[in-house]
């Protein structure tokens, strides 16, 4: 099946070898326009999610009870964003990063430092003005962490990243200018106002924040896909599969690993920027290690190395605990058991579907290979 015009094999070829799912094969055979149209449809539906509660029957089952639905959706949106960013680091480049929350914190604190009246910088910028600076700072922090550590592999890298997150948290706790648990208040919301001069991004309804998050997610997905289907993505894959062979083929492994780290960090920073803009307040208690673990669990559960998988996983780790809020089980709030229920869920997924719910074809095959090696 060679494209007549260019004499090049088409992408659909990839799916002829029998280890892609039937859905994936059918999807790849759809004409480009049909694929775009369906993706557009999915995006539109995502924008309409705040109104899902008004669908009779299933709607009330979906929406959260203990937390208002738009806020739950906003939580989902930044978790999805973080999962997408971590997916670049873990899923594409194969670098285990356990301290991803550190970048989320750098993004959020950067906004706080430049905008909050409590900050010693006393710059009092608007949220929008602080965004590019905050993203640049997270990018740089990714490079600073990555530069000395990317020579390490596997477990060793994981330990260093874990340390990084702790350094950020301890600095937030201990350094005077970071204000510890007193935190930063009065962080401005994103700009814009409606016809009657009420701000678009207010305090009562989180829906606009969710839409903003969703828009950033769409942009990030496009960017990540562009990278995936370029020499950058090929280099990441080559590094993940056989770093030494990649080097011998002329791939600059340190450079591309560093970029994976920096891009992942910047996306995490976006999450932090959104979070700070919605909450208006943050302190050192916000950035627990658990956060990193949750996002990583989301990526692995959803399907490492696959964008839809990362989205699904990120959404689940945020949605499930929120959905359990205010639900009564045997006279107690199910939210108290959220980690128990959640942990059980992860175990079930990992037992029955170790490659994740929506795995990337390549990753699934790699895992199968490793399992074969382990039993051989």
């Amino acid at each position: 099946m060679i494209d007549q015009k260019t004499a090049m094999p088409r992408r659909t070829w990839r799916n002829r070898n029998g280890n892609g799912s039937p859905f994936r094969g059918r999807w790849a055979r759809l004409p480009r326009s049909a694929r775009w149209a369906s993706l557009l449809g999915v995006a539109l539906l995502a924008y309409l999610l705040p109104y899902v509660g008004s669908i009779p029957g299933i709607g009330p089952q979906i929406v959260t009870e203990g937390i208002d639905w738009p806020s739950a959706l906003f939580n989902i949106s930044y978790f999805v964003l973080l999962a997408l960013g971590l997916n670049v680091v873990v899923g594409y480049a194969g670098l285990l990063d356990l301290g991803y929350v550190g970048f989320f914190a750098v993004g959020a604190y950067s906004v706080a430092l430049f905008t909050s009246p409590d900050s010693i910088l006393n710059t009092g910028w608007s949220w929008l003005a602080a965004v590019p600076v905050a993203i640049a700072l997270t990018l740089v922090s990714g490079v600073i962490l990555g530069w000395p550590t990317l020579r390490l592999r596997g477990d060793y890298l994981a330990i260093v990243t874990l340390g990084f997150a702790e350094i950020i948290r301890n600095t937030a706790n201990g350094a005077e200018f970071m204000r510890g648990d007193r935190g930063f208040g009065g962080i401005p919301h994103p700009p814009g106002s409606l016809g009657d001069n009420s701000p678009i991004f207010g305090v009562r309804d989180a829906t606009p924040y969710y839409w903003l998050g969703l828009t950033i997610i769409v942009v990030v997905i496009i960017g990540v896909r562009n990278l995936e289907h370029s020499r950058v993505g090929r280099s990441w894959l080559a590094i993940r599969e056989d770093q030494e062979a990649a080097e011998m083929m002329g791939v600059r492994t340190v450079k591309y690993k560093l970029w994976a780290f920096a891009i992942g960090a910047a996306i995490g920073g976006f999450g932090g920027v959104m979070f700070a803009g919605e909450q208006g307040f943050l302190n050192s208690a916000t950035f627990q290690l658990l956060f990193s673990i949750l996002v990583l669990a989301g990526v692995v559960m959803g399907g490492s190395g696959n964008i839809p998988g990362a989205i699904l996983g990120g959404a689940l780790v945020s949605y499930v605990p929120d959905r359990l809020r205010g639900v009564e089980i045997a006279g107690t709030d199910a939210f108290q058991f959220r980690m128990l229920i959640f942990g059980f869920m992860i175990i079930v997924v990992m037992v029955f579907r170790p490659q994740g719910l929506l795995p990337s074809r390549r990753r699934a095959a790699e895992l199968a290979d490793r399992a074969k090696e382990a039993t051989a």
Partner: protein
């Protein structure tokens, strides 16, 4: 030394290279030179240091002493990807493809190493991205056609038969536009007809202007295809010369067949 068929310019000089791993001397003052356009065979019994010699040349090991010069410039201490970019490509004794990539993607990893599309360029899909991506794709396809596996371009490389994987590795190495291609036992596990086809391929590679360094066990293949042979044993060079000379060399015969007891 015989008159060598190559055009005579020195491409690679291995000069007194010694490599020790602790007490083990893997390479012991090995010397040889390659000329542009020739096919040089590096032979020797198992454990003679052939692959080790490759690994020194391609930057995987750093020798304890000695130098390697490629196109007049020293190679020792340069980064692996720089060595590849400067024009040395290799295949591996045990095939090392990127197993979950398609055959075409594997070759494209080799094909795009001198591209200048930056990460930001790929992110924003600048015109250069499209131009270079198309060029890499075309070059990768051309290489796959050259080695005769273009019809497998879209298949995931781990699913390919062994012989195709071997050829794919050669295509991937050729895609980096090497001046020198090092083949590490490319005929291992091949049947006679596959070996004959490989022989054709090696000649065709040379005819493209690529100098070939060949490690091979199959004596008949080596004798037939090479212009010049270097024989290693226990890390030492024991003989060097044309195939005919090497074939007659008593040390080589002894190394391969063992020394007859009555001659000792």
């Amino acid at each position: 030394m015989n008159s060598r068929t190559a055009d005579g310019r020195q491409l690679l000089e291995v000069d007194n290279v010694t490599l020790r791993f602790g007490g083990l001397v893997a390479l012991d003052e090995v010397n040889f030179a390659m000329r542009t356009g020739e096919i040089l065979g590096l032979i020797g019994p198992n454990g003679a240091g052939k692959t080790t010699c490759f690994n020194v040349m391609t930057g995987m090991y750093r020798p304890t002493a000695g130098t390697v010069r490629f196109q007049g410039r020293p190679l020792i201490g340069r980064k692996r990807h720089e060595i590849t970019r400067s024009g040395i490509a290799r295949t591996f004794q045990n095939v090392r493809l990127f197993p979950e990539m398609t055959a075409l993607e594997n070759v494209m990893v080799g094909a795009d190493i001198r591209d200048r599309t930056s990460v930001l360029g790929a992110l924003f899909r600048v015109p250069r991205y499209w131009r270079e991506e198309r060029a890499s794709r075309a070059k990768a396809m051309e290489m796959m056609e050259f080695v005769g596996i273009a019809d497998r371009a879209g298949e995931v490389s781990r699913n390919l038969p062994y012989g195709v994987q071997r050829r794919l590795e050669i295509a991937r190495a050729l895609a980096t536009d090497p001046a020198l291609l090092c083949l590490d036992e490319p005929a291992a596990g091949f049947n006679p007809s596959e070996k004959a086809a490989l022989l054709q391929l090696i000649r065709a590679i040379r005819d493209r202007g690529v100098t070939v360094l060949l490690i091979e066990h199959d004596m008949r293949l080596v004798m037939e295809v090479t212009d010049h042979i270097v024989v290693l044993e226990f890390g030492k060079k024991i003989a060097e010369g044309s195939p005919a000379e090497v074939r007659e060399d008593p040390r080589v015969i002894a190394a391969y067949l063992g020394v007859p007891t009555d001659a000792a």
